[in-house]
């Protein structure tokens, strides 16, 4: 593996696991896939193949993963919906890595995404010089996925304008793309499909039309159900990330992870975990993904400026940034500090003091 690359795509990062799975394959493989649906599930939910241990990539609802994979088997498009930070893109990346060995056919949906980016556009210099030709055509990831019989990903589909989203309707129902300039029709090969992700909470999204929604099987990814589950996710991911980032710090202790997850869950849910006290919920999402990045951030602080062990000050700095997104959040956060954290006893007192210092 090339260590100089900041973020390796999933199929390279977990190349060994994928190869082991492909080698040990016994079940029938759908056309255009590299492994059987069962192996895809093992790759994502973890397990063991021969001597190779497969690390779990998605922890929690295995059944949802099954539904997602089964959807792709039936050549239906898959739409992953959920709050921010519920591992939608993560899951979609790993699904394509396992199924096609290529997770890079991505269109990132933004307010500026155009129809051309979803279908095809032109190299205008060549277009003007030679007129329309296949060489002058710039194929979108969806286009190439159709040609190769592979899966294309559309991230944050709800951030695209509605008319751009609807471009997908004809692609998904006809399963072919037409290039009138070249009087060309490209039919999709078997194995073609689309995994889209959409967000239920962010502002500035465009609702998907019912016509488009009907062309997808929708899987809703929930936030982790229990504290233990969330801690497990955070722990696994922080371990994986710190390896590739060389953070020079020791991994956070379970107690630290528990504290972070507790704070995040309580603020997210608007009540304490024992359900005895109502809280003001800040506007931020406080997703599991944020908890992971917070801990990595703290590790970076500890590794660069401290002694390599995460201190309460490192966490406090991260928490402040994660929780307080505007003025109203400051109030919610201060109330939480004084009403809840202060009263949690000696184990929390260090963190409480560090957080309060930042708010004085």
């Amino acid at each position: 593996m090339d260590n100089s690359i900041l973020r390796l795509p999933a199929e390279q990062l977990f190349e060994e696991e994928l190869n082991a799975l492909i080698k040990a394959e016994k079940d029938p493989i759908p056309e255009g896939w590299r492994m059987s649906p069962k192996s895809v599930k093992t790759y994502i939910c973890g397990g063991k193949v021969g001597k190779t241990v497969i690390t779990p990539k998605y922890i929690g609802h295995e059944r949802l993963v099954e539904i997602a994979i089964a959807t792709l088997v039936t050549d239906r498009a898959l739409l992953l919906i959920g709050e921010p930070g519920t591992a939608k893109s993560w899951l979609s990346e790993h699904l394509t890595a396992a199924i096609n060995g290529n997770s890079s056919r991505v269109i990132q949906g933004t307010a500026g995404t155009t129809e051309e980016q979803i279908r095809y556009s032109w190299n205008y210099a060549m277009l003007i010089a030679n007129g329309p030709s296949e060489q002058a055509m710039l194929k979108s990831p969806v286009f190439t996925a159709m040609e190769d019989g592979a899966i294309a990903r559309v991230e944050e589909i709800s951030r695209c304008a509605s008319e751009v989203q609807d471009t997908l309707i004809s692609l998904l129902s006809e399963k072919r793309i037409s290039v009138p300039e070249l009087s060309l029709e490209v039919p999709a090969k078997k194995g073609f499909s689309i995994i889209a992700t959409a967000n239920t909470r962010d502002k500035g999204v465009n609702d998907m039309s019912a016509a488009l929604k009907r062309r997808f099987n929708i899987v809703v990814l929930p936030a982790p159900e229990t504290l233990e589950e969330e801690m497990n996710i955070v722990k696994t991911r922080v371990e994986q990330l710190s390896e590739s980032l060389d953070l020079n710090a020791s991994l956070p202790k379970d107690k630290v992870i528990e504290k972070i997850c507790t704070i995040f869950r309580e603020l997210r849910g608007g009540e304490t975990l024992d359900k005895k006290q109502k809280l003001k919920a800040p506007a931020g999402v406080l997703s599991t993904a944020e908890a992971i990045s917070l801990l990595c951030n703290s590790m970076a602080l500890a590794g660069s400026f401290g002694n390599g062990d995460i201190s309460d000050d490192d966490i406090a700095a991260g928490l402040q940034g994660a929780v307080v997104k505007d003025d109203k959040d400051t109030v919610a956060w201060k109330e939480y500090l004084e009403n809840i954290m202060k009263k949690r006893g000696s184990e929390w007192s260090g963190l409480y003091r560090a957080c309060r210092e930042l708010n004085e």
């Binding site: 959807t71 039936t74 929604k213 899987v219």
Partner: protein, 771 residues
Amino acid sequence: MSGVNFFGIRHLSPAGAFYLRQYLDEIKPALVIIEVPSDFEDAVSDILRSETAPPFAILAYTQSVPIRTILYPFAEYSPEYQAIKWCSENGVSVQFMDLPSETFLALSDERIREAEREIDENNEQDDSPKEQDGQDPETTAGQNPDVYELISEKSADGSHETFWERTLEHCANAEAYHEGANLFGANIRELSEKNGIDEKETALREIYMRSVIRNAVKSGISPEKIVVVTGAYHVEGLKTWETDEDVPTFPKLPSLHTLMPYSYYRLSTRSGYGAGNKAPAYYELIWEGLNKGDRLFAANAYLSKTAEKTRENGNAASSAQVIEALRLAGALAKMHGGNIPTLSDLRDAATTCIGEGSFAAVSVACADTEIGTKIGKLPEGVSRTSIQDDFYRLMKELRLEKYRSVTAQNLRLDLRENIRASSEKSAFLDLERSYFLHKLRVLGIGFAVLLPSRQDSATWAEEWQLCWTPEAEIVLVESALKGDTVELAAAFQIKETVEHSADVSVIAQAVEDAFCCGMSKAASYAVSALQAAAADNIPFNEIAKTMFRLSNIISYGDIRKADCSAVEPILKQLYYRACLIMSSSCVCNDDASQEMSNAMNMINSAELAQDFLETEKWIKALREVSSRDDLNTRLSGFAAAILLERNEMTNDELKTEVSRRLSKGVPADLGAGWFEGLMLKNRYGLIARLSLWESLDNYLGSLDDDEFKRALVFLRRAFADFSSGEKDSVAENLGEIWGLNGAQVSEVLNSTLDAASQEIIDGLSDFDFDI
């Protein structure tokens, strides 16, 4: 080789039922022995009658208190039921082999007592009482549920239900099912033994069942011609039937049993020892599919029905979605190595494709498809208890049978004589129905619920909500101990209530019940008990409640053709007492005054309703309360309100009273309390009297600041529940007195408080009322 053929099943297993029939066709046995309590054999002939429609259950119950019951439910797709049917179709004799129900009941009784003893002991050891869930003896009986949790953990599906369905219900042929189920049972057995799970009761049952098989063979039937149909778990245990062993004597509790209709809903809520059936309607679809030879029938039907129900609920569900869901379910099944989707595959597919990812959107439709509303039917007179017979006879006679369904239906009764009816019986049909439903109500049989009636028709109409549940049937059977007919049981219940209660108002309730049930004997018994109790010292509010009930009985007695002559003297007696003790009862604090004013109101309405009560006595008592200064002022005010309403107080008298009560010397809280009492009743009458408001205005004007603040608190309370219309009228009055425009005043009175005034008023809460 033992020679006897064993067919392991799970109760309520469509594939088991279907393949068992094939198996029987193949073996052609001379005798089929089934794992059902052996004393239930007499029910076979009734089970086989053509009018009998599953689901039904056999209910065994003890004849003494406390009543213990056990239930054996059967559905169309129960292997046991199909085995019994097969035998009758092929002229083969059938035998039941499990412990008799008497022994089951004795064992469960023992277990419950033991559990209670343990709780007691625990309580003695540490004083903190432990929370103990009321364990259902039937679910903890037999195999330990832990074993099934182990399977759930081990299986790829994460649930033993799905595991069973995928591996056994979807078996392609009889042989696979037969071997699979036997193996499954053997494995479970091994697992339980390995985990040291106590199976005392199972051991007893198997000893008994082995002896039944032994005796069958001894009677001369060749072992090869015997098929034993039993829970898969027991197959291994029964294979050793040849070894002779001592059969112990089993404990017994005298008991009876009866057939009863059952419902799918109830079946789905009893998951029992791992052989649960959470989706009876879906399992019936599997049964239908097996009989049609279409193994995907259940999947297709499930999804189409879910879509149909979703549409009925007002949500969109297209055929395209059903097709997609079917494909998805198929793909999910394939991932688990199956060809046919299981219930969980289907449900998840419906959620994803029809519900667009949210289960909430399809949950109702799914529940309808999985559980359904089916209820079983039994022909008339089928081995029921006498009280059931009576119940069903009455249901038919009173033409209530169409209400015996699981969906609630309303029934409106007109208790008056129907003059157009041809016979006396049909003329009073609704009254008879009312008697009957009241009896059920008294017995606690949840078949009929009386809905509150509207004032205009309260005397002659009743509205009931009828909904049949198996629970109702169970309570009905339990009522068999109380009497042989519904009427006798109700009479017994009323007698019980009367004997065990100390409160007069409860006895009065029993009297009312007896009258509602049209049971004159029980009524006269309850009345005499009431008379005896009424002689004792009773608090004022108890008297009031009792009078209210008695007055009701007398008012509505005619319509119910009841003889109320015995009740009148009691009412009279209580009435005199109430008049005598009212003023002394009015010495109380404000908290108690609420109840007192309610009581006064009740007596007042009783007095108004019954002509034979002497009005003067009541008026006199009211006047006393109204005029005395040493009683609770709120009650004095209320007494005045009643007098005003009854036109027993003139305007002048009121004016005098107001100025006396609200004069400057009287502490403000007392004055305002009186005013509050006055405002409790007859508001419109009071609002119309301008003089009242003038006096109030004068009074407020005479107060100094401190006194005003104090009065304000109480007056605010008095006006708190006035509607804005009423406030408008008050405003008009005040406007007239002050010479202002009524609308302006109204606006001020109706506006919500601004922050500043609210603060001032909040400040008053801390006001020190002691002078």
